[in-house]
């Protein structure tokens, strides 16, 4: 079965590199740091602070992310800082923050175990979040019901009591139909709706057209199943709704998230023990990166950057003068590069050349820049385009700090290995560059940085390293060193007292918008992408170990489609989209239905799937529609001779 071409695993970077006459050559640390700083200074002098962009790292510690956004705001003076959360869960953060005021999952893992109904929507948690799924299975084995909503019958779906097979990109019609059914059956939690929400009447009007038969036509899910899920969710004591990138990686990802949040508001399945909304985060510290303010629109602790008082607090603390205005997100930065407005970028531990949709386009944009600095543990494809490459220590095992997980738990990261000779700590490197740019930065340990963050971010104030150690991590919010908050968020919505209840949660009457990349007779197949159990993202890390499960990149399709195309398992086929063309071997998967095909994105060095994905992005969160490309599949001509 394995047709995988052998690729050499990445080897750690141990010497800085600088580009001379188009070629990267080894350099001393001093030379490389001088070059890095000089390039930033030159571009900011020419184009102003907004000519600079920071790609911070969702894999690095909270401390590093805090310093990266501080570097961007305090040293450079722009808010153009973002991270790869843009490619995955930015819509979840945007949606949750819009409705509830903070962008985190609302429950803890223990509550999943204690739920009596779990809905996994657009999530293959069995493979992408295996230990989270163990908590789900604890609940299932105790008697909870599991519903899985997914176009594919995945290994997660095989555990479901009911699988709702929807057409790709019809999540909003399905959510609206569930809402309509709940309302029409009198199952709305009216006391919650009246007390804690706004916009109910408008929402009722918006979902009115989505009757069960109409929804069945659009989504492909039988009306009876939609009805069953609606009733089960509305009647559950403790209903959990979790989602992953099947919801967010669409051109309208934020709307998709909002349509799910609506269901929790309608039924009161939020703000109570065991009931909640949980985006399953895809990277070790993608939650923390956002929490630390390494996003263009929020300061550390989700504080609103457009609020002048908040901005002043930080400017006073840092002795800086950044504006109380949103910066560009990753998608907007890439566009600014194309226009020529952004001319320099500092990329820490990210590999956008291989992770962004329509990657050829990304390469062109990065090639436009005057000065690219990449700080990484490997010479990735992105690093190969850089003008200066700085070898970093691996955050999770070579530094001290913290990560924040999907249940908002801040946990200690500890140094277990000495980094290879020549590699340096991210925060130290950043400090060297800051000093060269004239900033007064002393080197701080992870704990010093954390204490600075705690003094500025109320939701982290109570989390000393000592307490994190003693309690096995603490979930935010934790405003006081003397107490712990409940394990779930937004309990305030259930308060009697309107003052304690605070800002009401608003229903979102979002419109349906089908995938941008239309299916036509020329491009008749819907391609969706995802992860497999033993591999991870662009494979830079997971390629480092030998896995008996690994089969390399394949084009998965159902037996009927394979028969219609006249192709068999293992046969190489040509795959074409409106953006590009690749070849991959066929794999037959019974979990797919005619017209739907699947690929991972784990092996870009061999088969680069993001050549054919579409870069249609969510206007609110900037996440691309990785989950819905239109492609054609061609059998290769038989070789003669």
């Amino acid at each position: 079965m394995s047709r995988r071409k052998k690729t050499e695993p990445y080897v750690r970077l141990t010497q800085p590199l600088v580009r001379d006459s188009g070629i990267l050559r080894p350099a001393t640390w001093d030379e490389a740091l001088d070059r890095a700083a000089e390039g930033f200074r030159r571009n900011v002098a020419n184009g102003g602070p907004d000519a600079f962009g920071m790609f911070s790292c969702a894999r690095a510690t909270n401390e590093m992310n805090y310093m990266a956004q501080k570097f961007t705001r305090a040293v450079i003076g722009t808010n153009n800082v973002d991270s790869c959360n843009r490619t995955c869960h930015a819509p979840s953060v945007a949606g949750l923050a819009k409705v509830f005021g903070s962008g985190g999952g609302t429950s803890s893992y223990q509550e999943i175990e204690d739920a009596d109904l779990i809905v996994l929507w657009g999530s293959n948690a069995r493979e992408a979040h295996p230990i989270f799924f163990q908590h789900v299975l604890k609940a299932v084995n105790k008697g909870a019901k599991l519903y899985v909503v997914d176009p594919r019958l995945t290994s997660t779906g095989k555990w479901a009591h009911k699988w709702l097979r929807l057409n790709v990109g019809t999540d909003i019609p399905l959510a609206h139909a569930i809402a309509r059914e709940i309302i029409a059956s009198g199952l709305t939690n009216m006391s919650f709706v009246e007390r804690a929400t706004e916009g109910f009447d408008e929402f009722v009007k918006a979902v009115e057209p989505w009757t069960l038969p109409v929804a069945e036509l659009e989504t492909g899910v039988p009306a009876e199943l939609i009805r069953e899920l609606a009733h089960a969710y509305a009647k559950a004591d403790r209903g959990q709704l979790s989602w992953t990138l099947g919801i967010t990686e669409h051109h309208n990802g934020t709307d998709n998230v909002l349509s799910l949040i609506n269901l929790s508001l309608l039924t009161g399945q939020v703000g109570r023990y065991g009931a909640g909304l949980n985006p399953l985060r895809g990277q070790n510290n993608v939650q923390g990166g956002g929490d630390m303010g390494a996003i263009p629109d929020r300061l550390p602790g989700f504080q609103d950057i457009t609020n002048p008082d908040v901005a002043k607090k930080f400017n006073d603390a840092w002795g800086s003068n950044f504006k109380a205005a949103k910066g560009w997100n990753l998608t907007q930065m890439l566009e600014a590069m194309e226009r020529g407005d952004m001319t320099t970028v500092y990329i820490i531990g990210e590999n956008p050349v291989q992770s962004e949709a329509d990657c050829e386009h990304t390469i062109k944009r990065l090639s436009n820049l005057d000065h690219v600095v990449v700080q990484d543990i490997f010479l990735t494809k992105t690093a190969q385009l850089a003008h200066v490459v700085l070898p970093a220590a691996a955050a999770w095992c070579e530094t001290d700090g913290t990560f924040t997980n999907s249940e908002r738990r801040v946990q200690r990261v500890r140094k277990a290995l000495t980094p290879p000779e020549g590699a340096r700590d991210d925060i130290e490197i950043m400090g060297e560059i800051a000093t060269r740019l004239g900033a007064d930065w002393q080197h701080k340990t992870g704990e010093d940085v954390w204490d600075e963050l705690r003094s500025l971010s109320p939701i982290h104030t109570g989390m000393t390293y000592e307490r994190l150690e003693k309690l096995g991590g603490i979930q935010w919010p934790c405003p006081s060193e003397d107490s712990l908050e409940p394990s779930f968020l937004h309990g305030r919505l259930w308060e009697e007292d309107p003052v304690k209840r605070g800002m009401p949660a608003t229903f979102s009457p979002v419109p349906h918008s089908p995938p941008v990349d239309e299916l036509t007779s020329e491009f008749p197949f819907r391609l969706t992408t995802g992860r497999r159990l033993d591999s991870y993202n662009t494979g830079v890390q997971s390629g480092g170990f030998e896995s008996p499960l690994r089969m390399g990149e394949t084009l998965d399709l159902c037996p009927q489609d394979a028969a219609a195309l006249g192709v068999t398992a293992g046969e190489e086929v040509r795959i074409t989209s409106r953006r590009g063309q690749i070849q991959a071997p066929v794999r037959i998967d019974d979990g797919l239905t005619p017209g739907l095909v699947f690929m991972t994105f784990h092996f870009p060095d061999e088969i680069d799937v993001n050549i054919i994905t579409i870069e249609a992005t969510c206007p609110i969160a900037g996440t691309a529609e990785y989950k819905a490309a239109a492609i054609r599949i061609d059998k290769l001509p038989v070789k003669v001779g």
């Binding site: 946990q411 500890r414 277990a416 290879p420 033993d534």
Partner: protein, 307 residues
């Protein structure tokens, strides 16, 4: 609507342990009570993250009024219970159990077993020299037994199974404690790749039809290895280093950090020797993992030391 039990607060129960009065929460086992009062009871099949399997019989204690000895790992405390852990009867029982296990199984990589044996005077060699390893344990059917002539001690010895790059299965060290089966099954991993096959002395842990692991339902989470008490299951890296004599626990450090892959935030304990990760475990008390990991967390660390 399904009703899911989420539990009630616990009361304290008072009992007498080796003459001393102790109080522990109701529902606790005798073993919990012993641990809480600082007594160390030898046990092999007990797992702090698993339901008691009652398989190894090493942890037996005497309860006043009970005709037989009771397994402390599973017997729950009752008010007024009088328990003795170090009576002649318990020592005698432990001696015989360890002798039988030691004679049939290779316990050379089982932690603490030497101390336990010398404490109770166990001598596994008194059953005679070990029978040579057999090649057909995976194929034996119930009832098809060879007559034993008594000249050698029967053993479960068999060739070590090395059929994939991540795990090694050395079932000559297996005491049939069921922990791996429970960890792979509905208690944690729910993969059901392994189970008990055969009967009596021929019982063994097996994949379906004894296929090699790569052809089984195994997903290489390593959660069976995490709970194996004897080293019958081990990581390939550890196995290889033991084979070539470079495995040295006295030179290893253990540091707990967080996994670098998805956002679940699993706690990893990195076992490091000479600045190389040689093994990854997970703290059993972690509320995120309860000692469980997936293939990426357990094995996905080599990239940092490709230097």
């Amino acid at each position: 609507m399904t009703i899911v039990e989420i539990g009630l607060p616990k009361r304290l129960v008072e009992l007498t342990l080796d003459g001393e009065s102790v109080r522990v929460p109701e529902g606790a086992t005798i073993l919990d009570a012993c641990t809480a009062s600082g007594k160390s009871i030898p046990t092999l099949c007990y797992g702090d993250t698993l339901k008691p399997a009652n398989a190894c019989r090493v942890c037996m204690v005497e309860v006043e009024g009970s005709r037989t000895l009771v397994p402390s790992c599973s017997r729950k405390v009752e008010p007024g219970m009088v328990v003795r852990t170090d009576s002649e009867r318990t020592t005698h029982s432990r001696k015989l159990v360890l002798e039988l296990l030691g004679s049939a199984t290779d316990l050379s990589t089982t932690p603490h077993v030497d101390e336990w044996m010398s404490a109770c005077g166990a001598d596994p060699s008194r059953f005679g020299p070990s029978a040579p390893p057999s090649q057909d344990r995976d194929e034996r059917r119930p009832g098809e037994h060879e007559e034993i002539d008594g000249s050698v001690a029967a053993t479960v010895r068999q060739p070590t199974k090395v059929d994939n790059p991540l795990y090694v299965r050395d079932y000559g060290k297996c005491i049939m404690c069921y922990k791996c089966v429970d960890a792979c099954g509905d208690q944690w991993q729910n993969s059901f790749a392994i189970s008990v096959a055969g009967r009596g002395f021929d019982a063994r842990i097996s994949t379906e039809f004894a296929t090699p692991l790569p052809d089984s339902a195994c997903v290489y989470c390593g959660n069976c290895i995490e709970v194996c008490p004897t080293g019958a299951l081990s990581f390939k890296r550890e196995h290889d280093k033991r084979e070539d004599g470079t495995w040295d626990e006295s030179k290893q450090t253990e540091t707990t950090t967080i996994c670098t892959f998805c956002g679940v935030g699993c706690n990893l304990t990195l076992h490091v020797q000479d600045n190389e990760i040689v093994k990854v475990t997970s703290p059993h008390e972690s509320t995120v993992t309860h000692g469980n990991l997936c293939i990426k967390g357990r094995f996905g660390w080599q990239h940092v030391q490709n230097r």
